[in-house]
């Protein structure tokens, strides 16, 4: 599975949707993922890709990790994965 497929699978599971319902330009809010769901999704992504995502729920907009859309999350993960190597 590509990064994109893996991320969409994680987010779809969290949103209780089919992966086909999750598009690259979906926002987490569109998908009905609340703050707890967001924290759980980030945890699942960290586990899947063995990375640490700098995210503080108190200041999501201050974080270096962009969560404004599914596409932004995927590119953030790609960056963190490439930095890891």
């Amino acid at each position: 599975m590509s990064t994109q497929d893996k991320v969409i699978a994680i987010i779809a599971e969290q949103a209780v949707l089919e992966p086909s319902d999750v598009t690259l330009d979906s926002t987490l809010e569109d998908l009905g993922i609340d703050s707890l769901g967001l924290v759980e999704s980030i945890f699942a992504i960290e586990e899947e890709f063995d990375i640490s995502i700098p995210f503080n729920a108190n200041e999501p907009e201050q974080s270096d990790f962009d969560i404004s859309s599914v596409a932004a999350i995927i590119s953030g993960i790609d960056k963190l994965v490439s930095e890891k190597v």
């Binding site: 707890l36 924290v39 503080n56 729920a57 108190n58």
Partner: protein, 402 residues
């Protein structure tokens, strides 16, 4: 209904090992939060906390006691000794039979859990010390206080996360107010500053890496603390008859449940608890001069709490002071309301309002007088202490100057 007064107070926390030391620190706006020191701290992303420093359990407690006392019990007994000594009470005969101890606590013996899990899982040992269970159980501290001070009445532990101490003190208050017992020892304690305790909190991603800045626009989360706060709640006539020094009166309380979300606070739930406490104490909102806030320094709590206060107090909200001492001692979780009650006592007795330190920038969503950075002298007659817990479980106490 009986009147209930506080005739003894004791504490140990990051600001000091006694009530006078803690109040001095609060007056000076000193910060007790610093770099955490314990095993495996290098594996944590969050490395600050309000840790109790310079506390040597060895020497205070004998070998047999040490094998039974987790750090939260050690803190509790230390604070209970100070409180009960101040009250001048000795428990025997009928008083002993009726007096009990109700304490708040959330994590139980976390240090014991951490050490023993490490031993069996990480080190692969197959044997643990025989007293692991009596050491880690949440009611261990209450049990040891009852034994040490000969308290044979109603005793139990209340666990409602961050509201544990307020719920516990509310129960003790009810027991004395109803006439069930003339004296109750109450308050709470916590000792969660160990690898597992901080790691668990880290997971929620609500912790700050640098400071606890309640109500400040740049706040970025909570900081954990540890310690205990213990009080002697006594029926007023009982205290008066023996000429006891009265620190303040407990005049009411209320509890409510948000019934909404396991972690996100609700304005309505908080407001119902605050309004309920005013009603139970039969006071008008205009009488309240100070509120010791729950004020965790998270985005969610602080704005919800300010909105709840604004709802209940209306235009009066602009006249009262509200501060969060968590900025100094950190969030003691199950023990927090107890240590924070000391700020309420200081406000009533000494006319000194403890500040919210580390306050940098006003937040329009927290537009109340949060007593930023410096303590303030002010005469207040009635104060409230807020606690709003995960689970949506809230408890607010009301106190009056005597």
């Amino acid at each position: 209904m009986k009147r209930v007064v506080i005739t003894g107070a004791g504490t140990i926390n990051a600001l000091g090992h006694s009530v006078p030391a803690t109040l001095d620190a609060m007056r000076e706006g000193r910060c007790g939060i610093g770099e955490l020191k314990f095993r495996d701290v290098d594996r944590l992303a969050i490395r600050i906390g309000g840790q109790v420093r310079g506390f040597e359990a060895e020497g205070r407690f004998n070998r047999q006691q040490m094998s039974l006392y987790d750090r939260f019990t050690q803190f509790t007994l230390t604070a209970a000794k100070e409180a009960i000594e101040q009250s001048g009470l000795e428990f025997h005969g009928e008083l002993s039979a009726k007096a009990g101890v109700v304490l708040g606590n959330s994590g139980g013996g976390m240090q014991t859990l951490d050490e023993n899990y490490r031993s069996v899982y990480e080190d692969g040992k197959n044997r643990v010390h025989p007293f692991v269970v009596p050491k880690l159980m949440n009611n261990a501290a209450a049990g040891h206080v009852s034994m040490q001070f000969n308290l044979k009445g109603p005793s139990f532990t209340v666990s409602t996360a961050c509201a544990s101490s307020n719920h516990a003190m509310a129960q003790a208050f009810q027991i004395v107010r109803s006439g069930m017992s003339p004296v109750m020892i109450t308050g709470g304690s916590e000792s969660m500053l160990c690898f597992g305790g901080v790691k668990a909190w880290e997971g929620l991603r609500v912790m700050s890496k640098d400071a606890c800045r309640p109500f400040s626009a740049n706040r970025n989360g909570m900081v954990q603390g540890e310690g205990a706060g213990i009080f002697v709640f006594e029926e007023y006539e009982h205290a008066k008859a023996r000429g006891a020094e009265v620190l303040c009166e407990v005049i009411g309380f209320a509890m409510s449940s948000d019934a909404a979300d396991i972690v996100m606070p609700s304005k309505q739930g908080a407001a119902r608890a605050i309004a309920g406490a005013l009603q139970d104490a039969r006071i008008d909102a205009s009488e309240v001069g100070y509120i010791n806030a729950h004020g965790t320094g998270t985005a969610a709590n602080d704005k919800t709490e300010c909105a709840a206060v604004a709802d209940v107090f209306g235009p009066q909200a602009d006249k009262l002071m509200i501060s969060s001492t968590k900025s100094m001692h950190g969030h003691l979780i199950g023990g927090t309301g107890a240590v924070e009650l000391l700020a309420c006592i200081m406000a009533l007795r000494d006319g000194v309002i403890a500040p919210t330190i580390s306050y940098d920038e006003p937040d329009p969503e927290c537009a109340l007088d949060v007593v930023p950075n410096e303590a303030r002298e002010a005469r207040v007659d009635v104060v409230l202490s807020n606690a709003f817990a995960f689970g949506g479980l809230n408890a607010v106490l009301a106190l009056r100057k005597v």
